[in-house]
Symmetry: C2
């Protein structure tokens, strides 16, 4: 930081102190969602720390960094503000470009589903029934005579789309058949809702494809999973573990489910990041989606073959995971690639004694710097709001997670440099004005990469291979997820959940993991398997199981 | 077309004839929307002409060109297929890029609105009440105890968004405040629905902005209107007239409405293309969106000022207008800029006598041509489906509206040329293979421009300035819209509608304009005013009015 920032900083400190006092008063209110038409802007800055009360911290950061507004009209709904929508738009562009290359086309199906068609399917397939629980939510009735049957808003679109797949897919030439839509879906969750992670309406993409063979379907499942991993790793700087869901945790109507699983260090919980399902032929049989065998056996008549289907979805949940992992006690920390504003330029050392001419000259420089950065592909702006000290501005942009702060004062100008402060590490330094257009993009990429490396190291350190059952619960309590040799049986998973759940009064540790502590669930069977399972010898780690272990399975307390 | 295409063409003609016979049989069915799980692919090609039955033609073209599928579950809903979604995605990219430069940010508000909040507004403002008629549509009820109030799906988001504007806009520094969202809205239309033009759910963007002054708001209203005109003119090759709506036709809750108006030559009807509203201070007073006056009068305390608001929306309707204007009896005709596939390459002259080596060499050429075109930024593909004659393929791609057909046979190969046929005019010719990468993009731009010029000439020829009342109805019957000197009074418009409506048995002309013929409505007051109105002298053209004319107003039968 440039020396000439010191004077205004002292003022800023005073102001920040006053703000902190004000904020402390409002702390109770801040820990709650903003309610009604009530104005919340008089509470400045974060009032809760990440360690003290993680869930209140999260709630506060998504509101104060202006990512989310609670929708007062109906519980469980959220407004996504521009900071969030910019991230979603970047993800959309990145993903859309890649699935287009794969030959996936865009479609848009209606948001409503008639209750009649739901009942039809209910009768048909037992395995699909659990998914239909989603539909026990909002039903529409209309004053219009036209509408004789009640309809529901889609919770996902399998039942909306597949009747038409049966109509459109008539020959092997129509395969692979791949459609995707970007929309919002409604799931009337009974559980506590959380911004991004669990909302009653959320934005997502849902891809629905059909293939000639299991193998071809399988290739796509993994291609898409790799794109989901790419969204996390390359855009959001969030590490994930790729793997398959167990039978218990897979998509109920499908054949198998692959997943990317994330990890929240603050509470040691796993979180499902995005799933790519192979549906097998379950739905194609249900909806009669078939073609004539293009390669009939010699001398035999061509049979009808049911197609192999996939479905895959990624939602705005990804944004919440990113916030939880990177945010700190000053607020949001955004990875540069998805930050709407990557660098904020703040003038310092401009005060009452600065002549109007000098001030103008200085502000012209800011514009030049911004122009230079724009040409270099950097999204930047300067903050010349009157009536705010540099220190106040520093805090404000830190709260909002801007990856890089650039300070520019008369002394910087004299030395032809600009001072910088990284949001992620707080590291400071100077850069020659002449080399801004190369140095700043490099620095932003360094921030992006360092954020990923840090998060990856944290996840790696908290993913513990365990071969002694006694170590499982202590390891969970130490905020780890665990890999254990497992038989992969559903019943055994249920038992493991029971065995690892604790009663509140037995537990130590942070309040939020008490009351009572959560049992662990299987997160996935990682594709990358550690060594150590000897087929036919190694047993399932569950002491009450006794079966042989099939694979290492990742378990954890989870969202 | 290359000579060597002749042989397969004869086969193709035979096949096409058979197809036509088959199609004729199915004609009755084709004129109806596809119903239920019924397969429609055995009806090949168009069975209705644009002149004979325009509305059946339209219905058939949007289905057979695979733009739309009727949603059988619920009347008035449509599935948008990839051809349509590609167009919408191109429009979205084009428009989004431009509003971002204006500083408009993206947001996403919930789809539901509580009935309670609707009632509150109902009490507040009479002027807004007519819009609330939209809300007498679907109401949600839930088994969930959480949901105590019924909610509606948004028909537009003023009432959803503006309570938050009042929270977020606190100072003149927050202005201009500009948000836009891309979503779908639901209006439970009682009228007959039509694909794209009137659907119960449709995709659109809705922009909602706030400004310090009327003047600043007004500048944006016109900037956006110009972008809407650009979508039509530059992307869809559709001419529009820019103008202001009359008091009778403006957005009920607003201050004034600007509009781009289109024209459908086949039935002479006008169609509203997109509207950009200045809401004035009506909503800001209703929702209490205000700031402190940044320029208080000397010695006076700063007053609170209500902001000036705009809202503006463009929907998938634009696609329907484009189809109606450019389509012909062979099917869809797409302007190149929004065609997913701009050029289709069809091998010709390949038959039983062609050696496998020659065939392979020929098909390799097709790939080279496609690669060349891709590098030149042309979206192309080749059609090497076995078992289809070139002629059948020609018809198929004509039906789907691909702007340019490229035919490539052995004779073309020998001469190092490719033969082309334009979809819009049928014009044929050849291009040297060596100059494909410059000639094809140029030709596509020529097609784009010619399509616009043709449509523009048609609209211009059917926009008649009339100063003799007796000529009005004959002019409408001749499929014109008319500009007349008008007093702009609401009452007079009602009267004009009555006076120009005819009873079915009095009318000549196509069946669809009978039963009974529609009275004319005001479409807009064009910004470009013809000469001839003498202030204080020229009278309103309505013979029963007697008031003075204010401006030329464009009237027409309309959608």
């Amino acid at each position: 930081m440039a020396d000439n920032a010191e004077v205004p900083l002292k003022k800023a400190e005073k102001q920040a102190k006053q703000a902190a006092e004000k904020a402390a008063k409002a702390a109770k209110q801040a820990a709650l969602p903003v309610v009604g038409g009530k104005k919340s802007e008089d509470i400045i800055g974060m009032t809760v720390t990440k360690v003290d009360n993680f869930s209140a911290w999260y709630q506060e950061v998504v509101i104060k960094a202006e990512m989310i507004e609670y929708y007062n009209e109906i519980a469980g709904f959220f407004i996504l503000r521009p900071t969030s929508m910019f991230i979603w738009a970047e993800i959309r562009k990145w993903f859309q470009e890649r699935i287009e290359l794969m030959g996936v086309e865009e479609t848009s199906f209606p948001m409503f589903l008639s209750a009649k068609s739901l009942e039809k399917e209910k009768d048909h397939v037992e395995g699909f029934a659990p998914e239909l629980a989603w539909f026990t939510c909002p039903y529409l009735h209309s004053g219009d005579k036209d509408l004789e049957v009640p309809v529901a808003v889609r919770p996902t679109s399998e039942a909306v789309m597949y009747p038409y797949y049966s109509k459109w897919i008539r020959s092997h030439r129509d395969l692979p058949f791949r459609l995707n839509q970007w929309n919002s879906v409604v799931r009337w969750e009974a559980k506590q809702t959380t911004p991004f992670l669990r909302a009653r309406e959320f934005l997502w993409q849902e891809g629905h494809t059909a293939h000639l063979t299991e193998e071809l379907a399988g290739v796509e499942v993994l291609e898409i999973l790799e794109l989901y991993a790419g969204v996390y790793e390359q855009l959001l700087a969030v590490p994930v573990v790729r793997g398959r869901k167990t039978e218990k945790e897979k998509f109920a109507g499908g054949y198998y489910t692959t997943t990317v699983e994330g990890y929240i260090p603050s509470n040691g919980r796993g979180i499902q990041g995005g799933t790519s399902h192979c549906l097998g032929q379950n739905f194609s049989k249900m909806f009669d989606i078939k073609i004539e065998d293009p390669n009939p056996k010699d001398g035999e008549k061509a049979k009808h073959l049911h197609v192999w289907q996939n479905s895959w979805g990624l939602s705005t949940r990804v944004i919440g995971v990113m916030v939880m992992i990177h945010g700190d006690d000053k607020g949001l920390v955004l990875p540069p690639r998805i930050a709407k504003l990557q660098a904020i330029i703040i003038p310092v050392g401009i005060n009452k004694n600065t002549s109007p001419e000098d001030k103008k000259k200085h502000y012209d420089d800011l514009q030049d710097i911004k122009d230079t950065l724009k040409k270099a592909g950097v999204r930047s702006d300067y903050d010349i709001r009157d009536g705010y000290t540099p220190g106040w501005k520093f805090s404000d942009w830190e709260l909002k997670g801007v990856p890089l702060r650039l300070e520019y004062g008369p002394k910087d100008a004299a030395q032809k440099v600009i001072s910088f402060a990284r949001r992620d590490t707080g590291e400071k330094g100077t850069i020659d004005i002449a080399s801004l257009s190369t140095e700043i993009p490099t620095l932003l990429e360094k921030i992006q990469s360092d954020m990923y490396i840090k998060a990856e190291a944290s996840f790696r350190a908290h993913r513990i291979n365990i071969t002694n059952w006694e170590e499982v619960v202590p390891s969970l309590d130490a905020k780890n997820v665990v890999l254990i040799p497992h038989c992969l049986a559903e019943k055994c998973e249920d038992k493991i959940k029971d065995l690892t759940a604790g009663k509140a009064d037995e537990q130590e540790g942070p309040a939020e993991l008490k009351a009572p502590s959560m049992g662990m669930k299987s997160l996935c069977i990682p594709f990358e398997q550690p060594a150590g399972i000897e087929k036919g010898v190694t047993k399932c780690l569950n002491p009450e199981c006794g079966a042989l272990a099939e694979q290492w399975c990742m378990f954890g307390r989870s969202y």
